[in-house]
């Protein structure tokens, strides 16, 4: 079924089309949720809320632009709202403790490339993690991030820089990258 037909059938509330849409995109969208969430359960709740929004607002997508991009934006906003609503930004994590955490090998998906990098990203305190997700991966500007998270643009920028340094340190500590004067070589997963 083509994407256009799929969207049209979803607008017409076809159960088969809705299931197919979910099956096509739940993997990538759940990956996004997982990057923002503290645990799998939170990620599943985010995905559930996000898909409900997607199905209820799908008629507002007018086949202009990228449908996958539209869904990703809906999911990201859902994740941010979820974190705000559940006061996850208030969770404090000691930076010292995160270097001792093990990278989780929780499913078959962890065998995929990038899984360990993502798991390291998830070790970051939620503030750093959210800003890195939004800026480096989703491509939002610091001013947009400031609006979304209700923080100042400069705060977003500083959070990002600090988070980036912490993440690099974690990757080195976990021997996933190796500092080499100006360069860091990948070790672990590239050897696979």
């Amino acid at each position: 079924m083509s994407e256009t037909a799929l969207i049209e059938n979803c607008i017409n509330n076809s159960a088969v089309a809705q299931r197919e849409l979910y099956n096509r995109y739940s993997g990538i969208l759940f990956g996004i949720c997982y990057r923002y969430a503290s645990c799998r359960q939170d990620a599943e709740d985010m995905l559930q809320e996000g898909f409900i929004k997607i199905f209820s607002k799908i008629s507002s997508f007018e086949n202009k632009g990228n449908f996958e991009g539209w869904m990703k934006r809906v999911i990201v906003h859902t994740c941010i709202n979820y974190l705000k609503k559940n006061k996850k930004f208030e969770d404090q994590v000691s930076l010292d403790s995160i270097f001792n955490l093990e990278v989780r090998e929780e499913s078959i998906a962890s065998k995929l490339l990038g899984k360990q990098v993502m798991e390291c990203l998830r070790l970051l305190p939620i503030g750093y993690r959210t800003v890195i997700n939004l800026y480096a991966i989703e491509g939002y500007s610091h001013s947009e991030i400031g609006e979304m998270l209700e923080i100042g643009e400069s705060t977003s920028r500083s959070q990002y820089i600090r988070g980036k340094h912490v993440l690099e340190s974690i990757l080195i500590k976990k021997r996933l990258i190796k500092p080499d004067v100006d360069r860091v070589e990948w070790l672990a997963y590239l050897s696979n």
């Binding site: 079924m1 509330n13 159960a15 088969v16 809705q18 299931r19 197919e20 979910y22 099956n23 096509r24 739940s26 993997g27 990538i28 759940f30 990956g31 997982y34 990057r35 990620a43 599943e44 995905l47 559930q48 898909f51 409900i52 199905f55 209820s56 499913s107 078959i108 998906a109 995929l112 490339l113 990038g114 899984k115 990098v117 993502m118 990203l121 890195i132 800026y135 480096a136 991966i137 980036k164 690099e168 990258i177 080499d180 100006d182 360069r183 860091v184 070589e185 990948w186 590239l190």
Partner: protein
């Protein structure tokens, strides 16, 4: 900072973006289940409303049918000349006396054999006439009948009334046979008389006596339960093979799906209630409501893979792909063997016939058959992918309405008020469990033992 990914230098943002774009994780099945419940409530509510309306209707009908017929009670507690009856006769003596009495609350027609001994000790021409003794025995009271008491008064007898007629509050018509009236009674008016006030010394009335009159209904009600095992056969409509080019799918198509899917029957149950109405002495028509649980297990292996369901619609092949956690065979498996439980909850309305082949004083034999329009109440079952590799969620394909047929043979045993029955039952599902989009058709058959009892409705 520059990172080196292989031989290609990349910066931090590019690295994260690259890894994140390839990053996939898969949620558990319950996420979709929750989403589906939220976005398709309209597919669930009509079923619930239908069931609710049906149950209310069934209860209403059964209440109306079961409502006890009004007991016709005549209770007399007095031993004095207590009742005043206004009696009118249109009498040519020897013919029935019709009289009205105001001491019954309601209009009653009673047909009975009544032996009446009336002693009219004194008949006063001017006013009240007293029956000194009245013996009434009322037996075998039946509905829709008239209490007949034939008057055998001699022609010369007449009872004369005065003019003080009591208001007639209710009309009670009787034909009276006064078989043992004493001939000495002086009756002045032989052609027509009216007894205004009639004081009865009535042994029947003197004792507290109740005539309970109960209607005998033709309706019977039957309560039953069945334990049954569900078996199924799968038929794969392989017309999609014309559209499939992938070798692996073609290999799958060469297999028999019944050999791939290992199914283990499990015990399910039915409980229900039906009303029976006799067409003839031995043949009954029946209908009611029934709740079914049908289940079986499928052998599977824990796995992660893509379950593809291909179907042909409008001469085009469509494929619905889902991420599955269960494989049909060990080759695709990553984990241990497991069992998938397919449990179907249904409500149905059996409509059928019951034939009492033999009915002795205690034991009997009955045959019964019914057609059962059936509504599925749940959807969370598993189906095999059309390449036979994985099991996946069946909910998009579950057929809401189905038709079942059943046949059973009962041995019956009559007790004081109930007729118990026990016997084997076979039940066929006439339409595939899943809708026409899903090309592998599942037909179910249940073998079970049914037990229950039948009792008349009053």
């Amino acid at each position: 900072m520059i990172f080196n990914k292989g031989n290609t230098p990349v910066n931090f943002e590019e690295l994260l973006l690259s890894e994140a774009s390839r990053y996939r994780m898969y949620p558990s099945e319950k996420v979709w289940e929750n989403i589906r419940k939220d976005i398709q409530p309209q597919t669930r509510w009509p079923a619930l409303i239908t069931i609710f309306v049906f149950i209310v209707l069934a209860l209403t009908v059964s209440t109306i049918i079961n409502y006890p017929k009004e007991k016709i009670s005549i209770t007399k507690t007095t031993n004095q000349y207590l009742r005043v009856a206004t009696v009118k006769t249109q009498q040519k003596v020897g013919s029935p006396i019709f009289y009205t009495q105001n001491f019954y609350d309601k209009t009653i027609k009673v047909n009975s054999h009544i032996k009446t001994t009336n002693k009219l000790s004194e008949v006063n021409q001017t006013s009240q006439k007293v029956f000194s003794s009245v013996e009434n025995k009322v037996n075998n009271v039946d509905e829709n009948s008239t209490l007949s008491i034939h008057n055998t008064l001699p022609v010369s007898h007449s009872v004369v009334s005065n003019t003080n007629f009591e208001p007639i509050e209710s009309v009670y018509t009787k034909e009276v046979t006064n078989q043992l009236l004493e001939p000495s009674i002086q009756i002045k008016n032989s052609s027509q008389f009216a007894i205004n006030t009639l004081q009865l010394n009535d042994e029947f009335l003197n004792s507290k006596k109740t005539i309970n009159k109960t209607a005998k209904s033709k309706w019977q009600v039957q309560y039953y339960a069945t334990l049954s095992n569900s078996y199924r056969t799968l038929e794969d409509d392989k017309t999609r093979s014309r559209y499939i080019s992938a070798l692996s799918d073609r290999v799958a198509l060469s297999k028999n799906v019944n050999d791939v899917v290992i199914h283990k029957p499990m015990t399910g149950a039915e409980i229900g209630a039906t009303l029976l109405y006799p067409i003839t002495k031995k043949l009954f028509i029946k209908t009611g409501i029934q709740f079914n649980i049908r289940q079986y297990n499928i052998d599977a292996y824990n796995a992660y893979g893509e379950a593809n369901i291909s179907f042909v619609r409008n001469n085009q092949l469509s494929t619905l792909s889902t991420i599955s956690g269960y494989s049909t065979n060990f080759e695709n498996a990553l984990g241990a063997k497991t069992n998938l439980q397919n449990k179907l909850y249904e409500v149905s309305v059996p409509i059928g016939l019951e034939w009492n082949v033999y009915e002795g004083s205690k034991w009997g034999l009955s045959l019964t058959g019914s057609v059962e329009p059936t509504l599925a109440l749940n959807r969370n079952n598993f189906i095999v992918s059309t390449d036979y590799k994985y099991y996946t969620d069946a909910s998009p394909f579950v057929r809401n309405f189905n038709i079942n047929t059943s046949a059973a043979m009962f041995f019956t045993m009559r007790t004081k008020s109930l007729k118990w029955f026990l016997g084997p039952q076979i039940r066929f599902q006439q339409l595939p469990t899943y809708n026409d989009l899903y090309p592998i058709k599942e037909y179910r058959v249940d073998y079970g033992i049914k037990i229950g009892f039948t009792k008349p409705l009053h």
